[in-house]
């Protein structure tokens, strides 16, 4: 068993006193086009290995690429949504290096002529402030195949006795979005990194260009981190003038939480090395989700030479201005603006809205409100049991609900039953359980389970009298003006009524009788 020596890390606060962090994020997004970037093979995730391949994406001798127009459109829309300029004329380039999961031993990518460049994305932070991430470029390329190393303890190539390659992923369209160096974030650097990837994911989801599932690899993040000496406030001129330090690139940081943790870890690790007089090795680092550390990958020297040159098998991509304008017309409302509009429409607090966004339930709530529910009820029901169960299953709420057949119409119907006075809160929870168990619509579940508030005031009044009589001491307190003591009696009344009573009504009756 190989043991990995753990690197020294400096306490984060101490690191921040001494150093100023600078980040650069590279995000790879798999487009969810029906076919691959340069051939007609399907792109479905999780298919039988090597079942979605052809001469082109296998790199057979003689095969030639043809550009997927849909992917180019998606790239342009992403560029526009990131406030980028769109190239009037650009080419693909070959990035040459040997690797068994790359069929042609070059990746068809873009080099010095990206389709989109010079943009920005404004990212909202926890405290409501905004950080502007400058976008260097967004370019088109193809994904590689996937290597599976068998026989080793870690699933890595070292120690494995053989490897298998699945080329289904080879040729899937990728957009690589590269930021400019992100400076001035100071101690909030990890938060900014996470917020950026989160905002980007939200934007791409709104554009409907990708599944953006980090856990399936349809969105992947590489985080570059470097430190420079701290000489002043993060945004001060003297601080910004300090030259950048040597960076490391942490590969495949594949969850939002990991983005934050990996950046934070690398800052602390760099700080420990620099503080003890060492220097940072420019290298690739592997992120370990389980242990929360990075380990050294390959050393990335400047000598690494991909011998880029323009791809002679493809013609240049030259979108007309009319095409670009037409695509601009298809852009969705920017997620930030949309969020603010919905928050104001729904009357949510900042905290409530953030929970909804984090749960990925914005669209569900929007549809539920459209189906007639109150905004408060929609939030309450979606973020309750369904959200808890989705989390437990490791699924997002939309996928989870779709899998169960739970729809916004169901939630609106449930809210209607409560509003109409047929169900109280606890009965509504039981009904929702029934719907989640596949027993039918809320009304059907309520009918089947015989859930209906008792509207017979005589029965309720009798129960109230019975409870008052059984609790003379509590009744005395209420008579003395301790109204809050009524809660104890209400609970008992509800018990008497087997839960099928309106708690508000019970309270009214109790107070009327004792005041």
């Amino acid at each position: 068993m190989a043991t990995v020596a753990t690197d020294a890390v400096l306490d984060y606060d101490e690191a921040m006193e001494k150093f100023d962090p600078v980040m650069g994020l590279e995000v790879h997004v798999e487009l969810h086009t029906a076919t691959k970037m340069f051939c007609g093979c399907p792109t479905e995730f999780g298919a039988e290995p090597n079942s979605q391949v052809c001469p082109v994406c296998l790199g057979l001798p003689g095969a030639l690429p043809v550009v997927n127009e849909k992917a180019v459109e998606s790239a342009i829309r992403i560029g526009l949504a990131l406030n980028c300029e769109i190239a009037e004329w650009c080419r693909f380039a070959r990035k040459n290096y040997f690797y068994p999961d790359m069929p042609k031993n070059f990746q068809t990518s873009q080099y010095d002529e990206p389709i989109a460049f010079q943009g920005h994305l404004d990212v909202e932070l926890e405290d409501g402030s905004t950080y502007r991430v400058e976008i260097e470029r967004a370019h088109m390329e193809e994904d590689t195949g996937k290597s599976l190393h068998i026989g080793g303890a870690t699933g890595r190539i070292h120690g494995a006795d053989h490897s298998l390659v699945d080329y289904n992923r080879a040729g899937i369209p990728l957009i690589e979005i590269v930021t400019k160096p992100m400076v001035g974030a100071g101690e909030r650097a990890p938060e900014v990194a996470k917020a950026y990837v989160s905002a980007l994911r939200e934007l791409l989801r709104a554009l409907d260009v990708s599944d953006v599932k980090m856990e399936q690899g349809s969105m992947r993040c590489d985080a570059n981190v470097s430190l420079r000496p701290r000489v002043g406030d993060p945004l001060s001129e003297e601080q910004l003038a300090v030259p950048l330090g040597t960076r490391t690139e942490t590969k495949n940081v594949n969850s939002l939480r990991s983005v934050e943790r990996a950046v934070r870890y690398e800052i602390s690790r760099h700080a420990a090395i620099l503080a003890s007089g060492g220097s940072i090795l420019q290298e690739t680092r592997h992120w370990h989700e389980d242990t929360g550390i990075t380990t050294s990958g390959r050393v990335k020297s400047d000598a690494e030479d991909y011998r880029y040159f323009p791809e002679p098998d493809l013609v240049p991509v030259a979108p007309t201005r009319a095409t670009v304008d037409a695509l601009r017309g298809t852009l969705p409302e920017p997620p930030g603006l949309r969020r603010r509009r919905l928050q104001s429409d729904w009357g949510y607090s900042d905290l409530e809205m953030r929970d909804v966004v984090n749960a990925g339930a914005v669209e569900l709530i929007e549809q539920t409100v459209a189906a007639g529910s109150s905004a408060a009820a929609a939030r309450k029901w979606w973020l309750g049991e369904p959200s808890r169960r989705a989390n437990a299953e490791g699924q997002d709420i939309v996928t989870y609900a779709a899998g169960l057949g739970l729809t916004p119409a169901h939630i609106a119907e449930l809210d209607g039953l409560v509003a109409a006075g047929r169900l109280n809160d606890s009965m509504a929870r039981q009904v929702l359980d029934g719907v989640l168990a596949g027993e039918g619509t809320p009304t059907a579940v309520a009918d089947a389970r015989g859930l209906e508030l008792v509207r017979d005031d005589g029965a309720l009044e009798a129960a109230v009298d019975k409870v008052i009589e059984a609790n003379p001491d509590v009744a005395a307190k209420i008579r003395d003006g301790k109204v809050q003591a009524a809660g104890a009696l209400i609970g008992q009344v509800m018990k008497e009524m087997k839960g099928q009573a309106d708690a508000g009504k019970a309270r009214e009756l109790i107070l009327a009788k004792l005041q």
Partner: protein, 512 residues
């Protein structure tokens, strides 16, 4: 139409097609005649790397049946053909003359091959070539050289020497070729056959194992200009599988070949192609051909293309650069040869790749991969690949300026007649110089053709004249080529190829 000769292998493709159309003969007969000829002479010439007699006869019979059933068929239906081994053929080995692809059977057809099959041309087999089309002699084939039927000790040209020698030894009436720097035209010149490199994008590259993507162009090879035009019409046309394919109909090449008219045409003699380094006999035949064109009613002027001087240097930066990348896929991971490194217990993928590429590639391929890798390296890119692209643009400009003044350009196809096998093998520069006149057309993407101009006095071997036209004006090659061909047949009292010596029975191969 002329009557068919008793030996069907001596007939032109046009005459065979005519006879097939009128059911005077069957495709099975024609195909069998060629298979018999292959059996008789290919032991000496070594044109074929693979002969598919059974497959060819099956296709021939199927065509005969369809014709018998009254189906309307393409102009060349039933005429057999030889296919250069650079083209992917489903179910037939495709080696590109390389060990590294030994035993590889493609699971798909190149678009050109699909077109041949659809047009009903039985495929006799795959023709020899320099490894990955790198060479001018077939001596770089991993499977041994082909021989020139005019003199078996001499080269049949390259890289398409398999296809040229097939035609010159009557082992097929038609053949396909690819031309990256002259691989169709130079072999045609040294064997007294005809070959066209169409406009870049005129014939699909899909399924052609790439040498240099921006230079490669497939084209037709035949013994007459009309035969070549008929095949050009079958091979050409738009292919959505090739992004660089021209989205336009094939130029009217057959009509041009039939009209054979040069009256009023302006023909430019390229000053820079034909002086020093050109064999006297080659120049003499070229000058006579130009004089003939003038007699036929064309106006001849001299044209200067000053940047052609740099064409060879430019070509030998661009070609190796693209080739180094195109050939990277041969890594033993998915197909072809796999060699395990000696003395390594559990070799890594990288070690297997290295061992395979070391064993699988010949010296010329390695030389060009190293050249190209170097030219693309950061720090050298601008000086080499970058500069070469600029000169390439200047060469294209020379052409467009010339075509402002003339309709076509002419030059000798190759500076010399066929040299002896082994003569230039140790001197790559001398080998490269063979393509000095043909390379500019590839750099500019314009079409070119070689037809026989006669026999050089000093060695009695064939020389060729090259005709070049503006991009997409391929038909002009055929107007000029057919007119000149007819005049030369008159002058020489018959096709020049008729003067080639008979191949002696099943004599042992000389020199190999």
């Amino acid at each position: 139409m002329t009557d068919l000769p008793t030996d069907l292998t001596r007939a032109t493709a046009a005459d065979l097609a005519h006879a097939l159309a009128s059911s005077t003969i069957s495709s099975a007969e024609v195909t069998q005649a060629h298979l018999d000829r292959i059996a008789a002479v290919d032991g000496q010439v070594h044109s074929y790397l693979h002969v598919d007699g059974e497959g060819a006869l099956a296709q021939a019979r199927a065509i005969d049946e369809r014709r018998h059933a009254g189906e309307s068929l393409g102009a060349l239906a039933g005429v057999p053909i030889a296919v250069k081994d650079v083209m992917a053929t489903k179910g037939l080995p495709t080696t590109c003359g390389s060990r590294i692809l030994e035993g590889w059977i493609p699971p798909y057809d190149a678009t050109v091959v699909t077109k041949l099959r659809q047009a009903g041309l039985p495929i006799l087999g795959k023709t020899n070539m320099d490894e990955f089309a790198m060479g001018s002699s077939t001596e770089h084939s991993a499977y041994g050289p082909s021989h020139n039927p005019w003199d078996l000790d001499r080269i049949p040209g390259g890289s398409g020497g398999g296809s040229s020698s097939v035609l010159a030894s009557f082992q097929a009436p038609l053949a396909t070729g690819t031309d990256t720097g002259g691989s169709i035209r130079q072999p045609a010149a040294v064997t007294a056959t005809v070959g066209t490199k169409p406009t870049y994008g005129g014939v699909s590259r899909y399924g052609l194992v790439a040498l240099a993507s921006s230079l490669d162009q497939a084209g037709p090879c035949g013994r007459t200009v009309l035969d070549t035009a008929l095949l050009h019409a079958v091979m050409g046309g738009h292919d959505p599988m090739d992004s660089t394919s021209i989205d336009a109909p094939v130029p009217p090449v057959v009509e041009a070949a039939r009209s054979a008219d040069v009256r009023g045409m302006r023909i430019g003699v390229v000053k820079e192609l034909g002086g020093e380094g050109y064999q006297p006999g080659v120049r003499a035949r070229f000058d006579e051909a130009v004089a003939l064109l003038e007699e036929l009613g064309a106006e001849v002027v001299e044209v200067s293309c000053p940047n052609f001087e740099y064409a060879l240097a430019t070509y030998y930066l661009i070609l190796p650069s693209e080739a180094s990348s195109n050939l990277a896929k041969f890594d033993a991971m998915r197909y072809g040869m796999r060699v395990l490194p000696e003395g390594v217990d559990a070799p890594s993928a990288e070690q297997v790749m290295a061992a395979t590429r070391d064993a699988g590639f010949g010296p010329e391929v390695k030389r060009r991969i190293i050249l190209g890798t170097y030219a693309l390296s950061s720090g050298y890119y601008d000086a080499y690949y970058g500069s070469a692209q600029k000169v390439r643009a200047l060469i294209a400009q020379d052409f467009s300026k010339a075509y402002d003044k003339v309709d076509v350009l002419v030059s000798p196809t190759a500076p010399t007649t066929a040299f002896r096998l082994g003569d230039k093998l140790e001197d790559p520069m001398a080998m490269y110089l063979n393509d000095i006149a043909t390379i500019p057309a590839n750099l500019a993407g314009v079409p070119g053709m070689s037809i026989p101009s006669g026999l050089a006095d000093e060695d009695g071997l064939p020389a060729g004249i090259q005709i070049l036209a503006p991009a997409t004006k391929d038909e002009r090659l055929y107007s000029v080529g057919a007119a000149l061909e007819a005049a030369l047949v008159d002058r020489w009292g018959g096709p020049i190829l008729d003067r080639a010596p008979e191949l002696g029975g099943v004599a042992a191969v000389k020199g190999a």
